[in-house]
Amino acid sequence: MIRLSGISKRYGKSATKAVDRLDLEARDGEIFGFLGPNGAGKTTTIKILSGALRADEGTVSIDGIDMAADPLAAKARIGMVGDNPELFNRLKAYEYLNFVADVFRISSEDRKSRIETLSDRFALSDVLGSPIGGFSRGMKQKLCVVASLLSDPSDWVLDEPMVGLDPQAAFDLKETMRERTQAGKCVFFSTHVMEVAEHICDRLAIINKGRILFSGSLDELREFRGRDSKAESLENLFLELVDDENRENRKTDEKGEKDAAARGKA
């Protein structure tokens, strides 16, 4: 289970918070979708929950382990697929997988069997001995997926995992997500693809400008937006919600500017 409480983060000397007092909970046995427009704070949140970035405020708890208090134990429970698969072009696929397995202290027998199973599933068996530099983006993405599952993590975190995947690989990835939740594990992933989120997420959160606009199931989102129809798509709900929020923000900003101008005149 992943729990974020009151997380805020401001980069460098920036006046704007990348994420602002963010609370989230992704439970065991559920696929949790994390949605938001570009620059909303999704990747920052994922970096914070995976221990790659330190929050200015708030706490991150992974299966009850506080990330700040015991980061190694917390990170050992996470399998992470980042947003950039262009990592180690100079390594061969097996060297990369071996590195990840070493870091997670996976025994020789376990890593061998998991690599065989997972590379078969994601059609990478033929290229395990090949340099990653020759891989397509989709193949690199699949390799990152395989690497993230080597430790059989209780919490699987994926940042935009569908980008670059062919239909078969995307299907396999969704199947794997579902299997893991059926085994009682937690899957947390960010995406722009609303259809994917709509079909596979048990619960979801929508973030805009660093703040959570909604967190709950799709039915709860419909209820929140006052829609009865089950046919109302997530895409429509998402666009309306974000649009309303942006309009509200603009009004507040304009009012602030007018007040400031009035104060200036006075």
């Binding site: 970096k47 970035l53 990170k75 950039n84 397995a101 070493d102 870091v103 065989e116 340099p131 397509s136």
Partner: protein
């Protein structure tokens, strides 16, 4: 509205020469101001250092030629040597900038004519060569100008010639490279090209070094200078007569008072521009095709067999895994290898070349050094050389910057940050041992040291190099370069690498100065310096971990 060619040429130039100049507001911050001043001083130092060699060559040449009335030959020498050096430099630049990978792939899908793509690339290479050409020719012009007071047109013609000299070498470079890249499959391999460019650069650097060493060694020998550099039968004169741009540049400078000189300068420009335009128009298509095929990557399918799986997937300790990852990633990247771990191999080669060229000077030096070599200097000099080689790899001082793109992922792994840095330090230390060994051994052989003194020199070199590696790692942990587009920026354009190299020079120079002031028994120096280095390392081992942990928490990659 700019033409597509001009827009592309400007974009190429900006991406190659684009320095992030600090704003006025930024310069009000003391740290930014200090950094800017430091960079300016360093750049001036570099230019002055190379400029000094050429100034001295030209002054000596002038002094040697003036008494026999051949001082104008100085101009022929300047025009010819600039032509030769610009040709070498231009060819290597054209080779190494052949493909700018991701950026170029985007241009291929835009409506550029092939000649515009090639022309813009040539314009960028030309700008690089032009700086070199103006620099070299200006030095000769200023030296000649101060002594002979030529007319104003001398400088105008000289400047026009400096603009003209890189043009034909540029056209010839692409005339050679375009068919080569289109014809040979291995030339379309990025790694091959990087290694070939790197090796060609090293060979040219060695050749350039040999030229400078030879010239510097004979600066006081007027007879040699006139025979080899400026006499009518010298190689330079023969190249100058046979190579039209050099001959025209010479004419432009030596006949500056008349119309003929200005005409020669214009003819040189017209000839060069014509050649470049011809190449861009005729070879644009072939160039574009070669860049298209350059972007192709071949996936070699190598299925992991059962035997391979059993042997390969054996568990290793985490520090070993981190060390292997670091070692493979740096040493398989040609740009990193050639500018980092390969330096301890290159430096002895340059020094060996210097030794063979200036054997006589070295023999004289050895006679002068003989009394000193009876004392501690016999092992201290080889240890200083070994320390410099051991600390010259830029591994530790770029350790974090090189990983910038992967840092978010790496930091999400259950790895103690100190074990991660230890993997980096171990890598630097492996090459420190290698550099120290080469330095101590070569110095030992040169000075005829015994095995014990050689071993002592090696130990001191390792300790000093380790100190520099720790300082380098400290720097890159404190101020890593986390945002870059081209991996080479993490190494060559990383201030930590520059500070580290200058720091190791300062450490070695300072230690040398200190040993000249101290009065200790022969092996007392080893104890003294070894003790200081060991104490520093021990203190570092105590303080650095806490500092590194706190600092790494604040990284925002």
């Amino acid at each position: 509205m700019k033409s597509p060619f001009a827009s592309l040429a400007v974009l190429y130039a900006k991406s190659t020469f684009g320095f992030g100049m600090p704003s006025r507001a930024e310069l009000r911050e003391p740290r930014k101001l200090l950094k800017a001043v430091g960079i300016v001083i360093f750049a001036l130092f570099l230019v002055a250092d190379i400029g000094f060699l050429f100034v001295m060559t030209n002054v000596s040449l002038y002094s040697a030629l003036k008494p026999i009335g051949l001082q104008d030959m100085l101009l022929l020498n300047a025009a010819t040597s600039t032509s030769v050096l610009v040709f070498l430099f231009g060819f290597i630049t054209a080779l190494s900038m052949w493909s700018m990978s991701a950026m170029e792939a985007k241009f291929l899908s835009m409506p550029f004519k092939p000649s515009q793509l090639l022309g813009a690339k040539m314009a960028m290479v030309y700008l690089t060569d032009l700086l070199f050409s103006v620099f070299l020719l200006t030095i000769a012009m200023v030296v000649y100008g101060i002594k002979e007071r030529p007319p104003f047109m001398f400088y105008v013609n000289g400047l026009l010639s400096a603009f003209a000299l890189p043009l034909i070498p540029l056209a010839l470079s692409y005339l050679l490279l375009v068919p080569l890249m289109s014809a040979a499959k291995q030339f379309r391999n990025k790694n091959f090209l990087l290694y070939a460019g790197g090796v060609a650069g090293l060979v040219a650097a060695l050749g350039f070094n040999a030229y400078l060493q030879t010239t510097m060694a004979r600066l006081n020998d007027p007879e040699w200078l006139t025979t080899n550099l400026a006499g009518p039968e010298s190689l330079m004169s023969r190249i100058g007569s046979a190579w039209p741009p050099a001959w025209l540049a010479w004419k432009a400078l030596s006949s500056a008072s008349g119309v003929a000189g200005f005409g020669a300068a214009l003819a040189n420009l017209a000839l060069g521009s014509g050649a470049v335009i011809c190449v861009a128009l005729t070879l644009g298509g072939a160039y574009t095709r070669s860049v298209v095929s350059f972007g192709e990557s071949t996936l070699v399918r190598r299925r992991a067999t059962a035997a391979f799986m059993g042997k390969t997937f054996a568990q290793r300790p985490v520090p070993v895994a981190l060390f292997l990852r670091e070692f493979r990633l740096m040493n398989r990247e040609p740009m990193y290898l050639l500018n980092g771990p390969f330096v301890p191999v290159l430096m002895p080669l340059i020094l060996a070349l210097m030794y063979f060229i200036q054997k006589d000077a070295f023999a004289e030096l050895a006679v002068g050094l003989a009394p000193i070599l009876q004392g501690p200097a016999a092992y201290l000099i080889p240890s200083a050389f070994g320390a410099f080689l051991g600390a010259s790899t830029s591994i530790a001082c770029t350790a974090v910057s090189r990983d910038a793109k992967a840092l978010p992922w790496l930091r999400s792994l259950p790895v103690d940050p100190l074990v991660y840095l230890a993997g980096k330090f171990l890598h630097a230390e492996a090459f420190a041992l290698f550099g120290a060994l080469i330095g101590a051994l070569s110095g030992g052989i040169l000075f005829g040291l015994g095995a014990a003194d050689c071993a002592l020199a090696f130990l001191l070199a390792v300790l000093a190099a380790s100190v520099m590696n720790l300082i380098g790692l400290w720097l890159d942990t404190a101020w890593p370069r986390l945002h870059w587009d081209n991996p080479i920026a993490a190494l060559k354009q990383n201030p930590n690498a520059v500070i580290s190299i200058l720091g190791s020079m300062a450490l070695i120079g300072g230690s040398g100065w200190l040993s000249s002031k101290l009065q200790l028994p022969k092996y007392g120096y080893a104890l003294f310096f070894g003790g200081i280095f060991a104490l520093f390392l021990a203190a570092g081992a105590l303080i650095f971990p806490r500092f590194a942990r706190a600092r790494m928490e604040r990284w925002e990659a």
